[in-house]
């Protein structure tokens, strides 16, 4: 992976991810599009950070860079965690594998022995409350159940591939956006519970201010084209409705700035 540990920055020791002056440009010459420009972001181990922004703020690009699926044009990304796991808007389970085998897949790719694999997958399915559904195929599960299997699989890939003790990192790209409101509400609560139980750091991308405030310990607002960090809010000690209001008005300002340009 693109884990480039920088000893010159002492703060990276107590960070799960450190992005410094990350810039990402697609294309060359006059047609080049800058998706991210000078993004600095630090996520502490076990921290829950929500990235908020309108379309075109490069949220997905940012996740791809951290996941190592893509390389930044300039700047650096330092990871102190095991392989980051990614969860997408669709569950993207392998339709030919049962739920349990889907969870085992990253362990299998990491070369974990069958017995240990089964055990770990069983634990993770238990964690997302799906121990009964391990033998089912994706098409036999509801959307919410599929997304929980995907969560278990993502956890398997970040927790299972490393030796014990390394903190995990979970990158989530609007994972609940395609679900109905009731299921989304339950899954948000489940995610918070899973996060508390596993101590994994989470970077969660969303369009939804309420979701960001409800889930995150910290909300980071990104501007669009190019994506830059506009402002950060801590949600740990604040009154929620006021915070939602504050963030929403700032988000609207950022978006209406594009109408003039």
């Amino acid at each position: 992976m693109t884990a480039t540990l920088e000893s010159a920055v002492p703060s990276s020791v107590d960070a799960a991810v450190t992005l410094s002056a990350v810039r990402k440009t697609f294309g060359h010459g006059p047609n080049a599009v800058t998706a991210l420009d000078g993004v600095d972001l630090r996520v502490a181990p076990g921290e829950f950070v929500c990235l908020l922004g309108a379309s075109g703020c490069g949220k997905s690009t940012l996740l791809n860079l951290v996941a190592g699926l893509d390389a930044p044009t300039s700047g650096s990304i330092a990871l102190t965690t095991s392989r980051p796991a990614v969860m997408f808007q669709e569950a993207a389970l392998m339709p030919w594998l049962t739920a349990a085998r889907n969870v085992e897949l990253p362990l299998r790719l990491a070369g974990v022995k069958r017995g240990a694999r089964r055990e770990k997958a069983g634990e993770l399915l238990e964690l997302v409350r799906l121990s009964e559904a391990g033998h089912k195929r994706p098409h036999e599960l509801s959307g919410g159940m599929r997304q929980r299997v995907a969560l278990a699989r993502a956890l398997a890939s970040t927790l299972g591939s490393a030796e014990e003790g390394t903190p995990g990192l979970l990158l989530m790209d609007e994972p609940f956006a395609a679900l109905d409101a009731i299921t989304r509400d339950v899954l948000q609560a489940e995610l918070v519970r899973v996060w508390r139980e596993t101590g994994t750091a989470i970077v969660f991308v969303t369009h939804d201010v309420r979701e960001a405030v409800r889930l995150g310990q910290r909300v980071v607002l990104l501007s669009s084209r190019p994506g830059r960090v506009v402002r950060e809010w801590s949600t740990v000690d604040g009154d929620e409705p006021a915070l939602v209001q504050d963030i929403t008005s700032r988000l609207r300002e950022v978006i209406s700035g594009h109408a003039a340009a």
């Binding site: 996941a67 997408f88 339709p95 030919w96 919410g144 591939s161 339950v186």
Partner: protein
């Protein structure tokens, strides 16, 4: 903070949602009902066909040497079975077809993967392969006889030319139809190129690949018959094609129809015994059971 009480509530709500939202399981119909639904219609169709045939023959619509009675065709089949000739003929043809088909699978699978994943290769020979698929493989028989003589090599050559394009093309379209998110997920889960091919690409392409295999088998069986009918020589032994050819030489229409019947029988038998169950298992596991 989450208290145990809240946690239990959440678990109960989640379990309720799962019960409400999970797609209901389809009941498999009983054996008798499945028989009525799947086996009965073709049997009735076959019986009707026999009836029409018998009626046409009884009306003496065409002369006897053009339209034999069902009974005389049955007699020809029965005679071939009694003398053991039917088994020799079937064995010669079927083992050639199976060997040819398996060889074609071994050649076409890496070829298909290469075409699907390497752009230059696809640009170079992709359309050639599709073209070959529409070329009747009989067209290769004269060339094969000139190159290899009237030997088994000619027959295998024709069978390969017939089935390799189908299988390779099936695999290519199978790979093309994989949702792009799946390989990305594989990459995110830490799959290298080879592991991705083994654990994601090939299983995801399996339905298309299977369709290609099925078509490849049909083509190899067809090509084999064409080759056997045209290339006849003592050193080739007697396969179904030669049997048909002999019937034609002897002006024995019953034997000709019996041969066609046997050729059809093998085709349908392999489809029903091998490909249909395989396809059904693969599709059902993915929730794509559809009409099967």
């Amino acid at each position: 903070m989450a208290t145990p009480q809240l946690d239990n509530d959440l678990a109960a709500v989640g379990a309720g949602l799962d019960a409400l939202d999970a797609p209901s399981q389809e009941q498999r119909p009983s054996l008798g009902r499945r028989f009525v639904r799947t086996a009965l219609p073709p049997l009735i169709a076959f019986a009707l066909l026999l009836g029409v045939w018998q009626a046409l023959w009884a009306a003496a619509f065409w002369p006897e040497y053009q339209l034999p009675s069902p009974a005389s065709v049955w007699a020809a089949v029965a005679e071939a079975v009694e003398t053991g000739r039917a088994f020799d003929v079937l064995w010669t043809s079927v083992h050639r077809a199976v060997l040819g088909f398996l060889t074609a699978v071994l050649i076409a699978t890496p070829l298909g993967l290469l075409i699907a994943k390497v752009r230059v290769v696809r640009a170079a020979i992709g359309s050639l392969l599709t073209g070959l698929q529409s070329l009747p493989s009989v067209a290769w028989v004269p060339a094969g006889i000139l190159w290899f003589g009237a030997t088994p090599s000619t027959i295998y050559f024709v069978v390969l030319m017939g089935s390799v394009p189908s299988i390779a093309n099936g695999l290519v379209s199978g790979v093309d139809q994989i949702p792009p998110l799946l390989p990305r997920v594989g990459q995110a889960l830490g799959a290298g190129r080879l592991a991705a091919a083994r654990h994601i690409l090939l299983p995801a392409a399996l339905p298309g690949y299977l369709a290609g295999l099925k078509q490849g088998w049909a083509f190899s069986w067809r090509s084999l018959m064409a080759a056997e009918i045209i290339a006849t020589s003592p050193q080739l032994g007697e396969g179904l094609g030669q049997y048909l050819h002999n019937g034609s030489s002897l002006n024995d229409i019953s034997m000709v129809i019996a041969a066609i019947f046997l050729i059809l029988l093998v085709g349908i038998g392999i489809e029903l015994l091998v490909f249909r169950p395989l396809e059904r298992a693969v599709l059902r596991a993915r929730g794509l059971s559809g009409a099967l």
